[in-house]
Each structure stands twice: as structure tokens, then as C-alpha cells.
């Protein structure tokens, strides 16, 4: 026993070093996909505050007022889009026995929430965007994020009270459902290879699909985060995947990740219900 203590005292620095390295590697392995970490929330709050201060200065150069008014106006417009409302079959209409204030609101499926980008990066392998709106502003995990021109930016990975961390499309773990606008609407998965910002690729598009340079890729709406028809990008290169019967299509992202200022988070009111249903189905099939 005494020898153990002597050993620890003698090699304390080395052991401490190994312990810290081990802890770092543990962090790398476990928090790469950005699950709710014990201190990620507090760290978000702290770094968010600093970033916000910096952004205040940066914003000055971007004609704040003009932008703000445009941004608010856009939100109003987007919320009036037809695709935000789900019109059910009239034969199977659900009856709600309270007074309706607005006859349209009960069908609303998507709500746009405006948010400001206070931090953004493009030059690492896993890029995150931080927004100045968090769970107190109704931002939830898994929400889709689009930029002012309705082009897909990413989805919310983590929220704290006042800030939200968004996994941008430029993240090695990001998987976004996409489809070809032209042709039969073949769907695939948009991923990023981690090399050139703004150039992504979409996989699982079968060779039977008709695709040419310049074609538009839109979101397929197969996930609960992003509705169908949001711009993802434009095809720049069509390659053949040797090992499979699929194309590997390179495309330029429609959103410009180099200068994101304002974005909208899309709240899907059915997200919870769908999630619960899926959980139930999974448990039944166990």
C-alpha cells in the first residue's frame, strides 16, 4: 500500500498528464455528435454571451435596421404560405369543441421563428452555428433552420435557455434528406465530405434518375425538421459510385455559409406526435 502511494507521488505529474489526456479523448469520442453534455449548456451560455457582444459590433456594418425590417416582414410572409397549412380531407375533419378564433390556425403545421446568427464557422470539420434564441424562445432540438432566402442551413443540435447550437450542413455528421426537383423526385441524403465549404454531395440517387449539371436539389420533407421544397443547392458534378447502382452527385449549397446573419427556425407542430408514434412502433417491434 505504501509503495502505491510512493509510486503515485513520484509519478504524479505523468499520471495527471495521462488523466487529462484521457479525459480529452473521452470528450472527443463522446461529444462529437453533440449530445446534451453536462456542461455543454453552461458553456453555451457563456460563449454565447461573448459571441453576442462581438456580434453587436459586427452587425453595425451590416445595416442593421434595414435588415431587421426585411427580416420581420419575411417572417410574416412565410407564415402565410399555403404549404404551412395542412388541409385535411373534409370527410374526416376533426371536431374541436372550443370557439375558433381563426379558422386557419388549427391546420397550421409549420411556424417560422426568426433568430439571429451570433457565431458561425466554415473552416473546421464539424461546423456549428449559434443562434441568439433558445428554449425560452421556443426553439427545440431537431428543428430545421433555413436562411432568409428559404435555403436549408441545418438543424438544431442543442439548446440552452437563451441560445441554440445548430449543426450546419457543413458538419461531418450532418445528414439531410434531399431530392431532385426535376424528374421523378428521387430522394437521397445530403452529406458533407469535410473539404470544401459550400460543396456538398447527395448519395442514394439511383442511376435511373435523369440528372444534369445545374439541376435544383430541394429538401424532401421526409424528416420532421424541414418541410418539403426548401432549397438545398444546385448540381455541379455528377459522378458514378463504383460499388453501387447509385450516383454520387456534388452540389453547391444554396445557402451562403460564409455570411449568415439572420435565419428562421421551423417549428413543426406534429414533430412530437410523430416522434412518439415512432417510439411506440419501435417498442412494439422489439
Amino acid at each position: 500500500m505504501r509503495n502505491i502511494f510512493l509510486f503515485i507521488r513520484r509519478y504524479f505529474t505523468l499520471l495527471f498528464f495521462l488523466l487529462l489526456q484521457g479525459f480529452c479523448i473521452y470528450l472527443i469520442v463522446h461529444y462529437n455528435s453533440y449530445h446534451n453534455a453536462v456542461f455543454s449548456v453552461t458553456a453555451n451560455q457563456l460563449t454565447g454571451k461573448v459571441n453576442e457582444q462581438y456580434n453587436k459590433v459586427e452587425n453595425y456594418f451590416n445595416l442593421k435596421k434595414t435588415n431587421d425590417s426585411l427580416w420581420q416582414a419575411n417572417e410574416k410572409l412565410y407564415n402565410k404560405l399555403k404549404e404551412d397549412f395542412q388541409l385535411p380531407d373534409t370527410a374526416s375533419k376533426a371536431m374541436i369543441d372550443t370557439v375558433k378564433v381563426d379558422s386557419l390556425t388549427q391546420y397550421r403545421k409549420y411556424t417560422y421563428l426568426h433568430a439571429e446568427v451570433i457565431e458561425n464557422s466554415v473552416n473546421t470539420q464539424s461546423n456549428f452555428i449559434v443562434l441568439n434564441r433558445g428554449s425560452l424562445g421556443n426553439i427545440k432540438k431537431g428543428m430545421g433552420i433555413v436562411d432568409i432566402n428559404n435555403a436549408v442551413v441545418g438543424s438544431v443540435a442543442d439548446v440552452s435557455n437563451d441560445y441554440a447550437v445548430v449543426m450546419s450542413l457543413l458538419h461531418k455528421d450532418s445528414k439531410m434528406d434531399g431530392m431532385l426537383l426535376r424528374g421523378n423526385g428521387e430522394t437521397g441524403t445530403a452529406i458533407w465530405d469535410g473539404i470544401t465549404p459550400n460543396i456538398l454531395s447527395i448519395t442514394h440517387i439511383p442511376k435511373s434518375a435523369k440528372v444534369a449539371k445545374g439541376d435544383t436539389i430541394i429538401s424532401s420533407g421526409n424528416s420532421t425538421s424541414i418541410p418539403r421544397g426548401k432549397l438545398l443547392g444546385f448540381v455541379t458534378d455528377v459522378l458514378l459510385e463504383k460499388s453501387s447502382n447509385n450516383y454520387l452527385i456534388k452540389f453547391r449549397s444554396a445557402a451562403n455559409f460564409y455570411n449568415l446573419q439572420y435565419v428562421y427556425a421551423i417549428d413543426n407542430s406534429e414533430q412530437e406526435a410523430i416522434k412518439q408514434l415512432l417510439e411506440k412502433a419501435k417498442q412494439q417491434n422489439k
Binding site: 487529462l20 489526456q21 472527443i28 466554415v122 473552416n123 473546421t124 470539420q125 464539424s126
Partner: protein, 177 residues
């Protein structure tokens, strides 16, 4: 200014410069210049090694929090903080010189060459470890190798510019009172 206060100011300044200046520069997708770890290279000689490790971890972790990728920079910082004392012992010219000066600099390391070796070795180790972790985590070996070499060169250049711009005055302290 006491060493303690000076180092706290350095801590904050280096982090801010790294996050809000260097990380915003898109020189080329292959190059990410790092300057922040100069803080660790400039830590005083007489600090205990355990404290150096603890501070290096805290420092790296602070940067990681801004980049939302915990672990990478903390690991690299801890590694250079661990190796630093060995390197200082190897490079410092005469016995006891590390007691006469406060922290590593051109003067205290006894000339430009040993100090440059000190900077270069630790820069390469820092970038190298970062490279190993990234290549292991993300794959794509050659891409990260080229990136590391280019980044290390640019980082070294930046460090030398910083040294020239902010010359630190080192007072000679004798042990013989």
C-alpha cells in the same frame, strides 16, 4: 504588473484574438492559423508542472467551448504543457538560467536559435497531435497531413511576428542577494 494578472490578461486576449480574428480569416481551406497556444509557451518557468497542466487544460477547453468541439485543443495544449519543461531543460544554456528569468523569451533562452527551436518544436507537436486526433476522428489522412504542415508554417510565422511586435522586457534576477 504581477505575473498572475499579466497571465490572466494574456489568457483572455489570446482566446479573443484566436476566436474573433484568426478563426474568421479564411485564408485558404487548408490553412487554419493558430496563435493562442503561445500563452502556454510563455508561462513562467517557476510554475509547478501540475499547475501548468491544469492551466493548459482549462485554456484548451475554453477555446474548444467556442468551437463546439470539446477535447481537441485541450488535448494538444495539455501535451505541449507536459513536454515544455523537458525542452526548456534541454535548451537552456547554463545551469540555473531559468531561475534568473521569469519566462521563456529570446534573452532568457540564450539567443535566437534555442528559442526558435523551442517555438518550432512545440508548434509542430501541438499541430501534430491535433492532426492525429482529427485524422483519427474524421479519417482522410493525407488531407490532414498537408493541412497540418501548412498551418504549422503559418502559425510559426505569426508567432515570430508577435514576438517582434510585442517585445517582452525580461529583467535579470539573481539568486545571490
Amino acid at each position: 504588473m504581477s505575473t498572475f494578472v499579466k497571465n490572466i490578461i494574456r489568457f483572455i486576449l489570446f482566446i479573443l484574438v484566436q476566436v474573433f480574428v484568426l478563426d474568421k480569416i479564411h485564408l485558404h481551406q487548408m490553412i487554419t492559423p493558430y496563435l493562442y497556444f503561445l500563452f502556454i509557451l510563455w508561462l513562467p518557468f517557476n510554475m509547478s508542472r501540475t499547475w501548468q497542466l491544469a492551466i493548459a487544460f482549462l485554456y484548451g477547453f475554453t477555446l474548444d467551448s467556442f468551437r463546439h468541439n470539446p477535447g481537441f485543443h485541450a488535448a494538444a495544449c495539455v501535451l505541449i504543457a507536459y513536454i515544455r519543461p523537458f525542452l526548456v531543460n534541454l535548451l537552456i544554456p547554463q545551469e540555473g538560467a531559468d531561475g534568473n528569468y521569469e519566462e521563456p523569451s529570446l534573452k532568457s533562452m540564450g539567443g535566437a536559435l534555442p528559442y526558435f527551436i523551442y517555438l518550432a518544436v512545440l508548434t509542430i507537436i501541438h499541430h501534430g497531435w491535433l492532426f492525429v486526433l482529427e485524422a483519427w476522428q474524421f479519417g482522410n489522412f493525407w488531407y490532414f497531413l498537408v493541412k497540418t504542415l501548412l498551418s504549422a508554417a503559418v502559425s510559426l510565422l505569426l508567432i515570430i511576428i508577435t514576438e517582434l511586435l510585442f517585445a517582452r522586457k525580461q529583467k535579470f534576477r539573481t539568486n545571490t542577494v
